[in-house]
């Protein structure tokens, strides 16, 4: 036998992952954007909602003297990405906007995966529940995600929580379908049958033998959910039905820049670029993860 030390399949996957260009590239960029959100106050930003009507609609690189709200002192400031229609600093708003986008993206992915995994596991393993659950999921998938989100947001008050719930509801059916399909094929595996004949109680059997097989596809699916949740959040904000306009989100910034887009394109340009980069990096990361975690790719010579 060539290998003498026991290397678990998990560690092998980890090794493959960290030698994959897509994973490193996408993961690195996504990490950079996450750090930008976390350390927003230290990146030479100002209060993202501090208005300055005198300096509104200025181009990127505009320098101005404004009075600081707290100290009353006059300070020299630079509008790196210009100012919006209320004279707010677009640069600060874009940097702070990363927080909302990442919170929405990550929490939607986490909740959707957890709930979807539970439902999918039940639908895949217990035959009697299958058709009932899947018909509900089919029904949910028939409603366009944005419409469903608008309906959910309008039922509750607009805010971060209701936006998250709205996006989660439309993402769950996809996760359920994925988990169910994995469970349906895994439950036929001889090692699962061996565990049944070994008398392993069903909940333990699911956790021990079936669930681990869903982790890899779910992580991959999770990255795509993060990307699509960030976009849906931006769309809802852009439509003015998502997070209230005083909180900076990329969608909100673009929504406010829309009226003066032809005169002052920077209001849409910069948040748009960062949004596109974020979604791109997360998707590249997801592609890389799929290549390294999918057992079909690891079987090659």
């Amino acid at each position: 036998m060539a290998v003498t030390t026991a290397q678990s399949p998990f560690r092998q996957t980890l090794g493959r992952m960290f030698s994959n260009t897509s994973v490193l590239l996408g993961g690195g960029l996504a990490l950079l954007i996450a750090l930008m959100g976390i350390f927003a106050p230290y990146l030479d930003t100002r209060d993202p909602s501090g208005i300055s009507p005198r300096n509104r609609n200025q181009p990127p690189g505009y320098e101005a003297t404004v009075r600081d709200y707290n100290t009353g002192q006059k300070v020299e400031v630079v509008y790196r990405m210009g100012s919006d229609t209320l004279g707010r600093d677009v640069y600060s708003r874009v940097v702070y906007g990363a927080r909302t986008s990442l919170i929405v993206g990550l929490s939607v992915a986490a909740i959707a995966i957890f709930v979807g995994m539970l439902i999918g596991l039940i639908a895949g393993y217990f035959r009697f529940a299958d058709s009932f659950i899947m018909r509900i999921m089919d029904g949910m998938m028939a409603i366009p995600a944005i419409l469903l989100a608008i309906a959910v947001v309008s039922l509750f008050s607009a805010g971060l929580l209701s936006v998250i719930v709205a996006i989660v509801v439309s993402e769950i059916p996809r996760v359920v379908r994925l988990v169910r399909s994995v469970v349906l094929s895994i439950r036929e595996e001889p090692y699962v049958e061996a565990a049944i004949t070994a008398g392993t109680p069903t909940p333990l059997l699911l956790v021990r033998h079936v669930l681990p097989n869903t982790i890899a596809p779910l992580i991959v699916q999770g990255t795509f959910i993060v990307a699509s949740a960030i976009i849906v959040e931006a769309i809802l904000s852009f439509l003015g039905i998502g997070i209230p306009p005083e909180i900076p989100t990329w969608g909100n910034i673009m929504a406010e820049g829309r009226q003066v887009f032809q005169l002052h394109p920077h209001n849409i340009l910069y948040p748009g670029i960062v949004l596109a980069l974020t979604v791109l990096s997360v998707n590249v990361l997801g592609d890389g993860l799929r290549d390294t975690m999918d057992p079909r790719f690891s079987k090659q010579v």
Partner: protein, 539 residues
């Protein structure tokens, strides 16, 4: 004799870095003459398929031939440019594969797939191509070719699909036909027909055939000359009778000795108490038609069987005969529709899952595919102690037992914290046996447990199974399609066809004096019965 169709000279194919040996095949030299069937035989990993792929120019990108030549009627296919190779394939050389379902396109009619070969390589018109397709389909003895030419692959049986493959390969009269395990996925009766067909076509058209197989029975049935391979090298080659009747190399002798003999040995009748008793077991799939017609399949119909302690009962039959259904009903992996399964007087056929759990430990099963029957994410120690811990044994005790079991099945007790991918197929099957024994079962079901193994490994695992049956006084239910294996290990035999038991009795009398037509058909179809294998079976 005329020039050989294929002459392989000192072929060497490099393996990518990190493989277990530097070359897939090394210094391979052999010839195939017109009208001759050359069998390349060897165990998995011996490089026999790589040889065929090198000739066809079908090697995967990772494998590069770095020395030697493969001369097809004097032309080196290793040096041929892709366009030239494309011309050669079909016209001068053709290949048939193991799995006729995946080798045919599922979305094209079989006639069109045969005609496609003609369309690429000839300038025949549409009508002529169709006529030629029907003609070749008739030549390979497909029933009603005028109608079948418009069928899709899924409408045909496995044997018919393989006939289509042969028709496609031979439609342009190639000089060389390469057959890579063409009968491995087929039932034994179908296999016999396909072998007969290959032989007939080869004789009629004078084709040289390079026949790759792992099955010595098939070799004995069809070969003119034999090439034995091991670890990428040719161990021995010679005429059929030379190699089979008088093997010179120890490896060939060992392989020949490992192939189970078709003659069952004398066995004493086991007189013990009955361990498991199955009466009128039925398993019905499908549903009663509500708006449409009833769609019901009787996977098992009124099956009666019993196994005594210390006895091996074999269930033989072809695919779809219901032998696995019976085994899975007894292990309660599926619920029988009706009937009784009595385990020491306890009726387990109808117990609900919660009441069944205490009885599960008494019936254990060893599956066919050693690569899928162990959870790849868990160490083999975790896999073996899972069942005992379910029945309340402490982890330390279970681990100690697992060490003993590992040694019992011939593996090191220190290997418990390794993962399944670090073991070979035969070793994994030993681990599965150890896992089944961990809960001290009374009934052990071996569901095609040695079918996926190489003959030499198969012989060892069979011996192990026989040994533990004896040691633990187990009632063993041995399910197999392989009549050679059944002959050697089973005390009594049940022959199943279409879900019904057609014959049963002591193995020796079933083989020497079969009562049912189907049993006779099966025994006749077994390949290579005129050569005596397993004579030197190590005991």
């Amino acid at each position: 004799m005329s020039d050989p169709v294929l002459r392989v000279n000192n072929l060497r194919v490099r393996l990518p870095k990190g493989a277990d040996r530097p070359h897939a095949v090394e210094e391979i030299s052999f010839t195939v003459n017109p009208g001759e069937i050359v069998c390349v035989v060897g165990e998995s990993g011996s490089g026999k398929s790589v040889t065929a792929q090198a000739v066809m120019g079908l090697l995967p990108k990772e494998l590069t031939p770095d020395a030697g030549e493969t001369l097809l009627q004097g032309e080196d296919t290793l040096q041929a440019v892709p366009n030239r190779l494309r011309d050669l394939r079909g016209t001068k050389m053709a290949m048939i594969f193991q799995e006729p379902m995946t080798a045919l396109s599922p979305v094209a009619r079989v006639g069109d797939q045969i005609a496609e070969v003609l369309e690429i390589h000839t300038d025949l018109g549409v009508a002529d191509r169709r006529a030629r397709a029907i003609e070749i389909m008739r030549a390979v003895h497909l029933p009603d070719p005028d109608r079948m030419v418009d069928s899709f692959p899924h409408q045909l049986s496995g044997g018919q699909r393989q006939r289509i493959m042969i028709a496609m390969a031979l439609v342009l009269d190639p000089a060389l036909l390469i057959a890579d395990e063409p009968t491995t996925a087929l039932d034994v009766t179908t296999q016999a027909q396909i072998l007969k067909l290959v032989k007939e076509m080869q004789e009629r058209q004078g084709t040289g055939v390079l026949f790759i197989t792992h099955d010595f029975g098939v070799v004995a049935e069809i070969a003119d000359r034999i090439v034995v391979m091991q670890h990428g090298r040719i161990v021995e080659q010679g005429s059929r009778d030379d190699v089979l009747r008088n093997p010179k190399e120890p490896y060939t002798q060992m392989l020949m000795a490992s192939v189970p003999s078709m003659t069952p040995p004398e066995r004493t009748v086991i007189k013990g108490e009955t361990s498991i008793n199955v009466t009128t077991l039925n398993k019905v799939y499908g549903r009663k038609g509500w708006l449409s017609k009833d769609r019901i399949v009787h996977a098992a119909k009124d099956v009666d069987l019993y196994v005594k302690k210390g006895e091996t009962l074999g269930i033989v039959g072809e695919s779809g005969s219901g032998k696995s259904t019976v085994a899975r009903c007894i292990a309660r992996l599926i619920n029988p529709t009706s009937g009784s399964i009595s385990l020491h007087g306890t009726e387990i056929a109808t117990l609900p899952e919660s009441k069944l759990r205490p009885h599960r430990s008494k019936v254990q099963i060893v599956f066919q595919d050693p690569y899928r029957s162990l959870n790849p994410r868990r160490t083999i120690g975790q896999s073996i102690i899972e069942a005992p811990m379910n029945y309340g044994i402490t982890q330390d005790k279970a681990l100690a037992d697992a060490r003993d079991l590992m040694e019992l099945v011939g593996l090191s007790g220190d290997a418990l914290d390794r993962y399944p991918h670090q073991f070979s197929g035969g070793q994994r099957q030993r681990i599965c046996i150890a896992r089944a024994l961990a809960v001290k079962p009374e009934v052990l079901i071996a569901d095609e447990a040695v079918s996926a193994l190489d003959v030499s490994v198969q012989a060892q695992v069979l011996e192990l199974l026989d040994d533990i049956r004896d040691r633990y006084n187990l009632a063993m239910l041995f399910i197999t399609h392989d009549l050679r294996v059944a002959a050697q290990i089973c005390d009594r035999l049940i022959v199943m066809q279409h879900g019904v038991v057609v014959e049963q009795g002591p193995t020796r009398s079933v083989y020497s004096d079969p009562q049912h037509d189907y049993t006779r058909l099966l025994l006749d179809a077994a390949p290579g019965t005129d050569v005596e294998f397993g004579s030197g079976r190590a005991h």
